[in-house]
């Protein structure tokens, strides 16, 4: 197997393992553990076997094209630094998997745990091995998302949910910042490839976008590594199961931030801005983390703050811009991971065995679990920086760096003091952890009786603690070469000379260590009694809870403020929306005229045709009246609307467009009747009797609406005037006039346009008509009238009352005798209108008429029947299936269109000829007339369907009323 394949497998294996783990049955705890352990062990072996290839000095690379146009390839790259980290991640991952077997309870959903755990490991390896910065961001966000799942693993607990959400929110924000930062780096360098970026240090540092770029990249790194001021999510993430904390919050995820800083340190670091940003964040985290850790009651809380502090130390080291600092940083990343993972696991054992993690409740466990206690003590000593342990070595290097002067500033001057104080704090909290848990009085009221854990649960800790010891005593022999290739791969030619010896002689750093150890121990002695009874959290800072502030800000921004914005800048009221629509279109249409010297042609009074103008005055009056009455007097509005429609019809006649006039007239009639039928079912509205009574605000609103309407209307008028008075352009209508007869086969150009030139439009429009009818049908099937419309109309009641008063009449007689004579005539008109419709249909191709007009005329015949005889009579006698008419109409029209395919022509190509029939004479026989038949059928079907639906409502009303009363009775 070559090294590229191994690299691919290394990253694919955990993800494949995750998929596999998810498929296990919920109770197969052992099998699941074995599988996960095998996967992680496989990853360890793969990592380890890549060492020879990496040790040659050239990184192992694998490049798979992914999104070449965006410069994003799936490229993996393993150099010494990445190798060291991947060893760390896989080894600790393996140990934690074994540990988890004993930690997790049989009731927990084990498949979910291991699936996310392994997926997380894969994502983390992805960050480490990415050879492309965008790919790194991809894996970076993936770790945020998966860690959300792992922190919230016990989602029944509120603190787990909150902790998970907080960590995802903060690291997610950081991830977006990182993405922006990486994009800027890509912008500067011209590539996202890590090698290309690492080669362009000078270019990046001198670019004007350098400062924004590092701010954004550091936002990502600081949030991920829980650096001040984004540190507060980490203690809250302790709600996660302890194996998760051991893996994510010691060794891996929180290390991603410092990993990235170290990775990009050669290109981004070494400047003043970098120094200040990272130096301040690092120093603050180092000091505050250590200080806060002293005052935690929860063991995991203590460890979490300690992690913040140690990561601060690493950040501070990376801020200095000296190669030796970078070496120390890399070394401390390793050391911290080993001792902190083992401490977390020890904390998990204590929690698991005794049932609590509260240090004020615990005590005297040394006698009950001596092995665990010893291991924890060694690991704590490493955390405190006691000599002969690995923590001591990197801390010594840190001290040595802190006393050097790098950039002359307050921060740099303060560094040694900060270092010593923070180390002293570290000693204090380490002692506190050991002393409070393992020594002193053994409390009586522990939830469980503690005892030593199973061997395999302790084994991971033993191995890690052994590593702490071995590295601490003989560093050069054990990790020297590994560390060296990592350092060289980051620093390259700048690699300084450093020594990993335990004893450097009596140096200033050693003195500082001694001061820190003694000072820390003294501090613990002083604070011991206070700590045994204090509240959670450090004095003074206790009230200032990052978590609370975060929650408040989040709730405010993401809920209250957002709702406020939605409520004030948006609306759910239709009136306002329509008003906005009118206003926006007004402005949109006006803008092009602004600043243009557009002039309207002058209006000459002499040109006005007086009767025509009067006609229009009437039409305008009708339209305005309709708008005015629309709200409270619907019937009046409808009649006035009809008036405006008639004026439009006459206008068409006047301007020699008989086709339009015929169609318009028929449509006006049918729609007016249909709306009339619908009016019956609209709820009543009562006018606020006198306008004077309406409140000022209403008046203002109405005034404003009137103004908007008037301005919009005026604007529309001006636009129409401008378009209609300008010289006619070279339009396509000339073509239609020329070709209608010779190629379309009809003298009626309008009809030829409708069924031939633009037959496809007609096809679409009849579909619309059909759909509207179906929609009306569907809506009315479930229609339940408003309560105040259920009663019979007032007129009917008056008639019925008269019947009752008079002894010679039967109730309801007057209503049934209504329009007796006209109704007979109307019934006789039925066949006449059908013939008329046929006439309109046939002559359509040459003279005004056509399928549409014929269809509407036909439906007028049905309307008359309803008017004359009432719904019950018509429904008894008439078997018309309007839905089928609609369907057939569309099918006919469609098939006529498709018919031309047979002859090798496109859809709807028409063929026309005149046929001489006996008696009737010469009639046109264009295929278009068949198409028109489809139109006719559909129009009849659609209008009749709507008619039936409206009319049928009056019958259903009674049944509906019956049904609703019966259901009420049933419920009762």
């Amino acid at each position: 197997m070559n090294s590229e394949t191994m690299l691919m497998m290394l990253i694919a294996l955990p993800f494949a393992g995750a998929c596999l783990a998810a498929l296990f049955p919920p109770n197969a705890r052992n099998a699941e553990t074995w599988a996960a352990a095998l996967v992680t062990l496989g990853a360890v072996v793969l990592s380890a076997s890549l060492f020879p290839a990496v040790a040659t000095g050239t990184p192992v690379r694998l490049n798979i094209e992914w999104l070449p146009t965006l410069g994003l390839s799936f490229s993996l790259r393993m150099d010494g630094f990445a190798w060291l980290f991947s060893m760390l991640v896989t080894c600790i991952g393996f140990l934690v998997v074994i540990y988890s077997r004993y930690y997790m309870s049989p009731d927990d959903a084990i498949p979910r745990f291991y699936a996310f755990f392994l997926a997380f490991m894969g994502a983390m390896l992805g960050i480490i091995l990415s050879g492309n910065l965008i790919l790194l961001v991809v894996f970076w966000e993936l770790t945020s998302i998966i860690s959300f799942m792992l922190i919230g693993y016990w989602y029944q607990k509120a603190d787990a949910r909150d902790g998970a959400r907080m960590s995802l929110t903060i690291t997610g924000v950081g991830g977006l910042g990182l993405l922006a930062g990486v994009l800027l780096i890509g912008h500067i360098v011209g590539s996202y490839d890590l090698d290309a970026v690492l080669d362009s240090g000078d270019l990046i540092r001198s670019h004007p976008l350098y400062v924004p770029a590092i701010c954004l990249v550091l936002l990502g790194a600081f949030t991920k590594s829980a650096q001040f001021p984004f540190h507060f999510w980490l203690p809250n993430a302790m709600a996660a199961p302890t194996p998760v904390s051991a893996f994510l919050h010691s060794a891996t995820m929180v290390k991603a931030g410092v990993f990235l800083m170290a990775r990009l340190w050669p290109v981004l670091g070494g400047t003043y801005e970098w120094f200040w940003l990272t130096g301040f964040a690092g120093a603050a985290s180092l000091l505050l983390g250590a200080y806060f850790a002293i005052f935690q009651r929860d063991i995991k809380g203590l460890l979490a703050y300690s992690t913040i502090s140690h990561l601060g130390l690493i950040t501070l080291l990376l801020s200095l811009g000296s190669p030796l600092g970078a070496v120390a940083a890399i070394f401390h990343m390793m050391n911290h991971a080993t001792f902190k993972a083992s401490l977390f696991m020890a904390a998990g054992i204590i929690d698991h065995e005794s049932g609590t993690r509260d240090m004020q409740k615990l005590g005297g466990l040394f006698k009950l679990m001596p092995y665990t206690a010893t291991l924890a003590m060694v690991a704590s000593a490493a955390m405190a920086g006691v000599p002969l342990l690995n923590g001591f070595l990197s801390k010594e290097m840190f001290f040595a760096e802190a006393i050097e002067t790098h950039a002359d500033s307050i921060l740099d001057t303060a560094a040694p003091y900060v270092a010593v104080i923070a180390s002293a704090f570290a000693v204090t909290y380490s002692i506190r952890f050991i002393h409070a848990v393992f020594f002193g009085e053994r409390p009586a009221d522990l939830p469980r009786e503690p005892h030593e854990p199973p061997f395999l649960m302790r084994l991971p800790i033993q191995l890690l603690v052994l590593a702490c010891l071995v590295i601490g005593i003989i560093p050069a022999i054990t990790v020297g070469s590994f560390l060296h290739i990592a350092v060289v791969s980051v620093l390259g030619a700048d690699t300084p000379a450093y020594s990993l010896a335990v004893w450097h002689g009596l140096t200033v750093p050693l003195g500082m260590s001694v001061i820190a150890l003694i000072g820390g121990a003294l501090l613990y002695v002083l604070l011991r009694h206070y700590l045994a009874h204090c509240e959670e959290g450090p004095p003074y800072f206790r009230r200032l809870k990052g978590q609370r502030i975060f929650e408040r800000v989040l709730v405010f921004v993401s809920w209250r403020f957002a709702r406020l914005v939605e409520a004030t800048l948006g609306t759910r009221r239709m009136q306002q929306q329509l008003r906005l629509l009118v206003a926006v279109s007004l402005v949109a249409a006006a803008i092009p005229f602004y600043n243009s010297n557009f002039g309207l042609g002058l209006f000459e009074l002499g040109q006005i045709d007086i009767p025509f103008a009067l006609l229009w005055v009437i039409g305008i009056a009708c339209a305005v009246g309709a708008a005015h009455q629309a709200k409270f007097h619907r019937l009046v509005a409808l009649i006035l609307l009809g008036g405006a429609g008639v004026v439009t019809c006459i206008t068409f006649v006047w301007l020699s467009a008989p086709d339009l006039a015929v169609t318009q007239l028929l449509v006006e009639i049918v729609t007016a009747v249909l709306i009339l039928l619908g009016l019956r079912w609209l709820p009543k509205r009562w006018e606020d009797t006198e306008l004077g009574r309406a409140p000022i605000s209403t008046k203002l609103r109405r005034g404003r609406d009137l103004l908007v309407a008037a301005v919009a209307g005026l604007g529309m008028t001006l636009l129409s005037y401008a378009v209609m008075t300008r010289p006619s352009p070279d339009t396509i209508s000339g073509f239609f006039l020329r070709k209608a007869y010779e190629e379309g086969g009809g003298r009626n150009v309008v009809n030829v346009i409708l069924v031939d030139f633009r037959g496809f439009d007609t096809f679409g429009e009849i579909t619309v008509l059909g759909i509207v009818a179906l929609t009306v049908f569907a809506l009315f099937r479930r229609f339940r009238p408003a309560p105040d419309t259920i009663e019979s109309p007032e007129q009917q009641r008056i008639q019925a009352a008269t019947d009752e008063e008079r002894s010679d009449r039967i109730t309801g007689q007057t209503v049934s005798d209504y329009l007796l004579v006209p109704s007979v005539i109307m019934q006789w008109l039925f066949p006449v209108i059908i013939v008329f419709a046929a006439y309109l249909f046939l002559r359509g191709h040459d003279l005004p008429g056509g399928g549409f007009a014929a269809g509407v005329a036909m439906s007028a015949a049905f309307i008359l029947q309803y008017l004359a005889a009432g719904t019950v009579w018509v429904e008894d006698r008439l078997r018309i299936l309007p839905v089928n008419w609609i369907g057939l109409g569309l099918l006919i029209a469609g098939c006529v269109g498709i018919g031309s395919w047979v002859f090798g022509y496109p859809f709807l190509t028409s063929y026309s000829q005149y046929i001489d029939l006996p008696v009737i004479g010469e009639i046109p026989a264009a295929t278009a007339i068949l198409f028109d038949l489809g139109v006719f059928s559909l129009v009849v079907g659609a209008t009749v369907l709507m008619l039936i639906v409206f009319a049928h409502q009056s019958i259903r009303r009674l049944r509906a009323a019956k049904i609703s009363t019966t259901t009420i009775e049933e419920v009762a």
Binding site: W66, G71, G186, H187, I188, V584, S585, L719, V723, T767
Partner: protein
């Protein structure tokens, strides 16, 4: 004329004829109806894919355009259908969403009201027609077709909430249709043509005196499209209507708002693109500004939404706003990324709309019962009662739902590793990325970047909140009963998004080719205007066939 060339009109005719045919069968034969509808939709998707292969079959950099002359009249006199990479893309997207929504509705929704399948097919006809047509008035017709069908569908299932939101929807869209007509008439009045390609030729020649009239027409037309796209401040109706609509209807409506976007993309580049002379770049500034405002407002709306359906409704606006500002930026690279984003976000939204119903079922089992009692109150003796054959209790239902939800959340928030991220990254890369290191990033670029990142953040916070509330907070979670046909479309759409991520290379290549063709409209114009009708057979005398 070859038979294959008629394939271009099939996406319009097939749903039309299917819808018409379904009208001839009684509601009681719903199995037959559902089968016909389903088969037609599958064929539609296949035809879409075939057409896409055709559109993409030419030279990588050249646009391949298929032109279909309806009634055998050449452009600009007759109506033309035009197929290029962009319209083929939209056809396939429509087919995909249609198949998913239709499959979902087979579980229950298609039997809740009359003529569901017919209306659904007519909606598809309108959508496909709008994507294929090359004629401005014909576009209006297809807009009407799809809107009329959507009116029917938004009311499908009735209920006070739905009818109220539906009537608002109808009122606003009717008003917008009116504006559409006004705009078209103004443009016709000035240029004397309706064919889009012909318009592109005539617009540069419009005299300065007439130019304001033309632009006013274009602006009014634009407002009509912007209403459909849901731009701020004209899009307040959208979240309410989409929330109220039945789940499968909302699932297909996810593409409805993209019709406006599609037209704006096409027309702004075709009519006011590089070759438009004095009118070039018209409206870009306004589109950009309004797009950013939409993203900002809709992000607040996403955060302020309590229900998940409403959240999704607001996210439709986020997606629209992002795309509109991308149109405003008007560069080839941004357009390419925006197209990718559009496909990804539309599929994700559709999946989410479908998923929300399933999740709501877990929240409140009473809601399901309520929908059924609604049936009982109806008075349709001919309507078969919806049998509540409780779906299978699939083991791990919650796990599957949870996984789907997480995938939706990742997609909507634009987080890696799914296609939502790739789309955003593609647009961001076009603005500040590695492609043009020498170019300065404009203020617009910064604003756009901030809007993209900010809206993703808002979506993340809101989705995390909704997810925790749905999956983690309930003490006694009820496991919803879910049928396989309901979860399959959701999973299918999400898997497609995943496939778009892994196969991002070829997909982005297609988008790049599409974007390049859109920004060089002269090829489209030449192809359309040079298409010649089939000559009449020489032997026939007299009138031509």
């Amino acid at each position: 004329m070859e038979w294959r060339s008629h394939l271009l009109i099939v996406p319009i005719l097939l749903p039309l004829l299917t819808g018409a045919l379904l009208l001839l069968f009684d509601e009681r034969r719903h199995v037959l109806k559902a089968t016909l509808s389903f088969v037609a939709t599958v064929i539609l998707l296949v035809v879409g894919l075939v057409l896409m292969r055709f559109a993409d079959s030419g030279e990588p950099d050249a646009a391949r355009t298929g032109v279909y002359l309806l009634g055998n009249w050449s452009a600009p006199f007759g109506i033309v259908l035009v197929l290029d990479r962009l319209s083929a893309l939209m056809l396939v997207l429509t087919g995909t969403l249609a198949l998913a929504s239709l499959t979902f509705s087979l579980a229950r929704w298609d039997r809740i009201g009359p003529h569901y399948h017919t209306l659904f097919q007519f909606l598809l006809m309108g959508l496909n027609g709008a994507f294929l047509t090359g004629d401005l008035f014909n576009l209006f017709v297809f807009f009407e077709v799809l809107l009329a069908a959507s009116y029917g569908l938004v009311l499908h299932g009735t209920g006070i909430q739905r009818v109220r939101a539906g009537l608002h929807y109808i009122a606003i869209n009717l008003a917008a249709s009116l504006l559409f007509l006004v705009g078209v008439s103004l443009i016709y009045g000035v240029t004397g043509t309706l064919n889009m390609a012909d318009l592109a030729v005539r617009i540069p020649a419009v005299t300065p005196g007439d130019q304001p009239l033309l632009l006013a027409g274009a602006a009014v037309l634009g407002v009509a499209f912007l209403v459909k796209a849901g731009i701020y401040p004209l899009g307040f109706w959208l979240p309410t209507a989409y929330t109220a609509a039945a789940a499968p209807v909302a699932g297909i409506f996810a593409i409805l708002s993209k019709v406006g976007i599609y037209i704006l993309f096409r027309l702004s580049l075709l009519l006011f693109g590089v070759d438009a002379g004095a009118s070039a770049g018209f409206g870009e500034f306004w589109l950009f500004g309004a797009g950013i405002a939409t993203v900002a407002f809709a992000s607040a709306g996403v955060l302020a939404s309590q229900g998940m359906a409403r959240l999704a409704g607001f996210y439709v606006l986020v997606s629209s706003g992002t795309l509109l500002s991308a149109i405003g930026l008007s560069t080839v690279e941004v357009t390419s990324g925006a197209l990718y984003y559009m496909v990804s976000s539309t599929m994700a939204l559709s999946a989410f709309f479908l998923l929300v119903e399933l999740l709501d079922r877990a929240q409140d089992p009473a809601a399901d019962v309520l929908a059924v009692t609604m049936e009982a109150y109806g008075d349709d003796p001919d309507m078969e009662d919806v049998v509540e054959d409780a779906g299978l209790l699939i083991p791990g239902t919650i796990a599957i739902l949870g996984l789907c939800f997480v995938a939706c959340a990742i997609l909507l928030a634009g987080l890696p590793p799914l296609s939502g991220f790739i789309g955003k990254f593609a647009m961001l890369d076009a603005i500040i990325g590695s492609n043009k290191p020498t170019l300065d990033i404009s203020m617009f670029g910064w604003l756009f970047t901030a809007a993209l990142i900010g809206s993703g953040l808002a979506a993340m916070v809101a989705m995390v909140r909704a997810g925790i509330r749905t999956f983690w907070a309930p003490i006694e979670g009820t496991i919803p009963r879910i049928k396989l046909v309901e979860i399959m479309p959701v999973a299918g759409l999400l898997l497609l998004c995943a496939a778009m991520t892994i196969g991002g290379g070829p997909v982005l290549r297609y988008m790049d080719a599409t974007a390049r063709a859109m920004h060089a409209p002269h090829v489209y114009v030449e192809e359309v205007l040079s298409a010649s009708p089939v000559p009449p057979p020489a032997t026939t005398e007299g009138s031509q066939p």
